[in-house]
Symmetry: C2
Subunit: 491 residues, 2 copies
């Protein structure tokens, strides 16, 4: 993997002096075109071996370009808020908006590689993390990010030479501590883990560039040119080839759908409802205040056709919760800030910490429901959303979140009845508009989308609960019962 980067590439000083100013000007111009165009963000990952001059290179890039529009971030051990959340959370937070450049030092590769080298983790565990990274990067690129992955390399010999050089000069001696020498001693094991990480994550959409770093001039010019070339190509409209997502399932030959096959006849009387409601709310109140909840979190997502009763059901849940620890997140049109980021970014920002509850009134499923049906998202975009969503929820679950998703299912006739009722009651009239009637006309398309969604995103760690909701009492009790059961199992 590193063979070509170990043959000692070199550049004459004179050539460097001649080419550097031109490269600088080119980079700056490209950066300004990126800012004006603001069509995509740029993420540059800086990784490599100790002593390869990663810091010098980052400084140089900030010198060559306008540093006000570059976010440079280094990642040390995760803080408390990051430890309570999925491991990718802090990287989501560091993503630049469209038009900007982020230089991520160490990035999401350092952690898994170090864990592996330190022997904390098995190879199989490293491979799972690498797969997650592959999915994350594919998502970034599919969302439009220009992702440049740089690996600054030194052979074992070159590293020894470089560390000695640094130590020999007063002004750089501080950069070589016992840590660096210790790493150097384990060079072979370290490089083996790196090699695996690079190989497994060198994809068509997010390839690695390995930079021989034994000569400072060669390293600097190679890096600068690489970034300029990629940026120029992308500004000229050249997109990387993406892997296609899996095709949607075939339509059953008898035409029967999941929602149509549901039994909507359940009814629940008022008294029984009241009695059950109180009991369930008390149970949920106890469970969510239990000690076991202190290092867990709860993520609920509610979806359903218009007027299915999402809001009123959510209120029956929040009545049982401690107001300091829950947040209801209603999902409407994204803000400007959210629009400048990948699709899932606006949900990641609401991921709860330990002991907290987040309830989403509509959710990240918008992409495979309304955006699919209305054509707001391209087929490529909504098809790739299924695995992306599965990844997101799996990460939540692995970080200790209890994830429950509810589809409140009503019949078309019941929806019509509720629409009319809304129009008749003055204080409910704001809840019904032309959008609702338009959505209603697309009922069969929504039914199809729901069936595909459930089939593709109902997982063991984040199952879909489909609740027949023509009777509101029955539906609310069913949701609370399912929730109690999930909480009991998990806590």
């Amino acid at each position: 993997m590193f063979e070509t980067a170990e043959i000692g590439h070199k550049l004459a000083k004179s050539q460097y002096r001649r080419e550097e100013p031109r490269l600088r000007e080119r980079l700056l111009k490209l950066q300004y075109r990126l800012l004006e165009n603001a069509g995509f963000p740029v993420v540059i990952l800086v990784n490599g071996v100790d002593g390869a001059g990663k810091g010098d290179t980052v400084n140089l890039l900030n010198e060559w370009m306008d540093p006000r529009h570059i976010r440079t971030r280094a990642f040390g051990p995760p803080g408390d808020d990051a430890r309570e959340r999925p491991e990718m959370w802090r990287y989501w937070k560091a993503l630049p908006p469209k038009g900007r450049i982020a230089i991520l030092f160490g990035s999401w590769y350092s952690d898994p590689i170090f864990e592996r080298v330190a022997g904390h983790r098995k190879r199989a565990r490293l491979e799972r993390r690498l797969e997650r990274i592959r999915h994350f990067e594919r998502m970034l690129v599919a969302e439009g990010t220009l992702l440049i992955k740089l690996w600054f390399h030194l052979s074992e010999k070159a590293q020894a030479k470089r560390l000695k050089e640094l130590r020999a000069h007063e002004e750089t001696a501080w950069r070589v501590g016992p840590g660096e020498w210790k790493h150097h001693k384990h060079y072979a094991g370290y490089i083996a883990a790196c090699e695996e990480a690079l190989r497994e994550t060198a994809t068509a959409e997010a390839p690695w560039d390995i930079v021989d770093s034994s000569d400072a001039a060669y390293r600097a010019l190679t890096t600068g040119r690489l970034i300029a070339d990629r940026l120029a190509a992308r500004l000229a409209g050249k997109h990387p080839k993406m892997s296609p997502p899996p095709p949607p399932p075939a339509t059953p030959i008898d035409g029967k759908t999941l929602l149509a096959a549901l039994d909507y006849s359940h009814r629940l009387g008022h008294d029984e409802y009241k009695r059950k409601l109180e009991k369930l709310q008390a149970e949920i109140a106890l469970l969510t205040r239990s000690k076991a909840m202190r290092n867990r979190s709860l993520v609920l997502a509610f979806e359903g056709m218009d007027a299915a009763g999402k809001g009123s059901t959510i209120r029956r849940i929040t009545a049982a919760l401690d107001a300091r620890h829950y947040r209801v997140v209603p999902i409407a049109a994204p803000t400007d800030e959210e629009r400048a980021q990948p699709y899932l970014w606006r949900f990641w920002r609401h991921v709860p910490g330990h002991g907290e509850v987040a309830i989403f009134d509509r959710s990240w499923y918008g992409r495979v429901l309304v955006e699919r049906v209305e054509g707001y998202a391209s087929e490529f975009d909504w098809m790739r959303a299924y695995p992306e969503i599965n990844d997101f929820e799996e990460q939540l679950a692995q970080a200790g979140a209890i994830v429950a998703k509810f589809w409140l299912a009503i019949t078309r006739a019941e929806q019509l009845r509720r629409f009319h009722a809304r129009e008749e009651v003055s204080y409910k009239r704001y809840k019904i508009g032309p959008d609702d009637w338009r959505n209603r006309r697309k009922w069969p398309a929504y039914e199809r989308a729901v069936a595909d969604m459930v089939e593709r995103t109902s997982t063991r760690s984040a199952p879909w609960h489909i609740v027949a909701s023509d009777d509101k009492h029955y539906a609310r009790i069913a949701v609370l019962e399912m929730l109690r059961e999930r909480l009991e199992k998990a806590l």
Copy 2:
């Protein structure tokens, strides 16, 4: 995942009787078009839960189509020869040639799923096997195979009903033994493992089709139509979308290549050569006859420019081996049988069993060397070959093979000298022809291909050994020393 397949799809008997003859005729016609066209093979995977009628369906397919051109294979526990080889070996052996259909019962999914359900293996281990399967299937499809993956599904309830029905009739009672009821008892755990396996392997190029099997007529017609539709689409030239392979590495800005940077000045005198040769051959003889070799195997691949000395070096190795246990495989143009199979098939068939040695004089690297340079393989084909080859070699290593690859590197001047020498010696003249002169003119393209190849396929389990070979004595001793070292480490 299985939600839509559990809502009880059904077909009226009358509809079945009406449609079955038409479907039958259509399938048979398509099968004959496939045979005549002989452009691609068809692989149908039959998987699913107990009692879902997999066997009945396979019988039906053999009845509907011409069974002489269908190979039906079921896979039980692996036999001795399979256990000594990589786990995918027996599936490679079952692949049909172009124009034919293979129905694989259980296929490469049964093993990993059962291992997981039985709790022998961790989840991480399952995921690694699934990744291997994903790569294998991508390779099959990229090589032209029409791959149809069927999952015959029953809900827990439907399975219980079906097993009881089978037991109730004298002629089918034998099909339900204690094994089936035991599986049924662990339905939930089994389905969880299946769901993960299906989700992780539902790719764009090899999606799953889930068939609700609670009604025999629905199941049969759905399966038949699915196969007919896929076959018809493929015969009409519709190919699945493939994921693009990673792009090749960028050219270094100083233009220096791996082979040009090698030190070719080593020389070795005749006496020292003789002494070292004898000693090394004795050591290798002992190592390959050691007890530790009884459950290992050895795979050697030799590559190099024309006249680099591959044949004579191989002879220095075989001199140390037991003739009963080694085979030298010279790689020339593929046979007809080999041409009707995926590219790597002709190498898989020579994978050695325990205690055996296979030496390849030229190898599977032809695709990224001569086929790339001469344009025999498309860019898509040689680019995807790197990860395919890495998979192949990793599987060899995991099955206990010691894999060593040698590139015998000579300078262009030395090659010229050897070409002239060959033309002058009568008994060597057969070794030089117009092909050699033509290859020689493409030297820089080969250099580039070699650098890319080494960078992408030199791994810890199957490293490249690059040997400066302008001096034959030096090169032979270097190869034998590397080989001894690899054997010592491994045994």
